[in-house]
């Protein structure tokens, strides 16, 4: 379909793909970007929170144009009991700054805008095109892609794989393994629409201020997982995710779990009267540092979710995708400007840039967390939240029982559940993995 040869072909128009395509096109490279959706964003699902710094590095004045929902002034962490929640809430008026740090977004709208910016830099973006396979030369170097369009083989010096967590191309070509059930979480999400005044009143917000609620505890029924509630301008994103391996063992359905979360007495009043307009599902790479595949080879690099670049502890994914896409673009531009070939040896520059960035440093810091949380999910996600809830109830309910007896009952409940050795062991393991 296209006779000309490109400097780079980017697969996918999500955060990583748009970052890579923008970076390369704005530096004058000839870029083709292929997207299987009807429009950029139509296949993309996220919570979604956007981190300004990582977008700013690509489009400095994005705040003036991009479709943003609310800037975040408050974060709530809720540890859920059966009918209770124990909260840590942080709100800071300084987050009402000229250039806020975090926003909620509606992914398909943001991606559509981002893609227009990419096209404005001169990249060619073709939608409704599924890439079927990578094309290699006799020496195994990737030299192009074959699409599902007629005569659809296109050639380029390098292919940038930004195909998402469930990317077929890289795995089919043997460049990386498919994700394992214990390394990906399945999240389901609904968009609940309400008048903006209602949202602002319920969440104590003024104007475009926003709130994030992250919830863990009995809602995941002992599985490694979390729920979330994010405020947008006129909608609320509500979701729930757990590891696929845990779902496989547990007999719950993801939508059943989401229904239970929505009906929890702490969540239900926030959503009352809303109109649901979409239901989505998505996998989230949760394996962390130890599951990052080979990131580059002869004629190819891989970025974002496809490379398992996601920080599950901090719920950061899109910014790792944006950064890896940008750094891949910068590395390719540097190699191209030296008139060097897109060999594995030269593309190692991408890995070097990524190693020097927060992306790899953060993932390395938490490398032991995914396995720890998975192995101890019954304790961390079920037993402790229930104990904490009981302890809070003991503390707050005034019923004539002497306080010393209440304290003994609370401590006794913890020891009965986990013994002293278990309690110290769990705390020690958590602290060590956090370090």
């Amino acid at each position: 379909m296209i006779e000309e040869r490109f400097d780079a072909i980017v697969i996918g128009a999500g955060m990583a793909g748009n970052a890579a395509a923008h970076t390369m096109a704005s530096r004058g490279l000839k870029v083709l970007q292929l997207e299987r959706g009807e429009y950029p964003g139509s296949k993309n699902v996220q919570g979604a929170i956007l981190y300004a710094d990582m977008v700013e590095k690509i489009i400095p004045n994005f705040r003036e144009e991009a479709p943003l929902e609310r800037h975040l002034v408050e974060q709530r962490f809720w540890m859920m009991g059966d009918r209770s929640h124990t909260a840590i809430q942080y709100r800071n008026d300084d987050f009402n700054e000229d250039k806020p740090n975090r926003y909620t977004i509606v992914r398909s709208q943001f991606d559509r805008w981002f893609s227009k910016e990419v096209q404005a830099q001169g990249a060619i973006v073709i939608c409704e095109t599924t890439v079927m396979e990578l094309v290699s030369d006799a020496y195994g170097k990737v030299i192009g892609v074959r699409t599902d369009r007629r005569g659809g083989t296109i050639f380029a010096d390098v292919v940038v794989l930004c195909e998402g967590v469930n990317g077929l191309l890289g795995t089919r070509a043997g460049l990386r393994p498919s994700p394992k059930p214990e390394h990906v979480a399945l999240a389901v999400k609904e968009m609940h629409f309400l008048p903006r005044e209602t949202i602002e009143a319920r969440f104590n917000l003024h104007g475009d201020e926003g709130v994030v609620v992250e919830a863990a505890g009995v809602i995941s029924k002992g599985m490694t997982g979390m729920g979330f509630v994010y405020t947008n301008k006129e909608s609320i994103s509500v979701g729930m995710g757990c590891l696929v391996s845990d779902f496989a063992e547990n007999k719950d359905t993801p939508y059943g779990l989401l229904e239970a979360f929505k009906n929890h007495p702490s969540i239900k009043p926030l959503l009352e009267g809303s109109e649901v307009k979409e239901y989505a599902a998505h996998l989230i790479p949760e394996g962390g540092y130890n599951t990052i595949p080979e990131l580059f080879g002869d004629g190819w690099v891989v970025c974002g979710d496809a490379a398992q670049l996601n920080n599950a502890i901090h719920r950061e994914g899109s910014n790792l995708a944006l950064t890896s896409g940008r750094l891949a673009g910068e590395a390719i531009f540097q190699i191209k400007s030296r008139k060097d070939a897109m060999t594995k040896q030269n593309l190692a520059l991408y890995k070097k840039l990524l190693d020097d960035s927060f992306v790899m440093k953060d993932l390395k810091k938490y490398k032991d967390m995914p396995a720890l949380l998975h192995a101890n999910s019954q304790n961390y996600f079920l037993a402790y939240p229930q104990l904490v809830s009981k302890a809070m109830e003991n503390f707050l309910r005034v019923d004539g029982t002497p306080k010393l007896d209440k304290e003994k009952a609370t401590i006794g409940a913890f020891i009965k559940e986990r013994k002293w050795s278990g309690l110290f062991g769990d705390a020690w393991k958590l602290a060590r993995a956090w370090r």
């Binding site: 409704e128 469930n166 498919s178 394992k180 007999k251 998505h282």
Partner: protein, 96 residues
Amino acid sequence: MSLAARVEEKLYQNRYLVDAGKPHIAIRPHEKPSENLLAMTHICPAGCYSETSSGQVEITPDGCLECGTCRVLCEASGDITWNYPRGGFGVLFKFG
């Protein structure tokens, strides 16, 4: 209160362009489903997988959300073959 009925209600909110006659996921014919294939009858977030009266697992991928959960659980063992729908087809998220 049937959860199966409720997931259909949820999918009803979504926009799809179904590639009629070209299902993108297929199940290998089997006598008895593997444990992972059977698990799909409750894990699939779109409720695409169901158990027949004779104990096999069948799929109707029209409501598929293209998350890839079944691929992660069932592709390696050969229980299913998984492809993305043709360009432009499948689920079309308005919000994502």
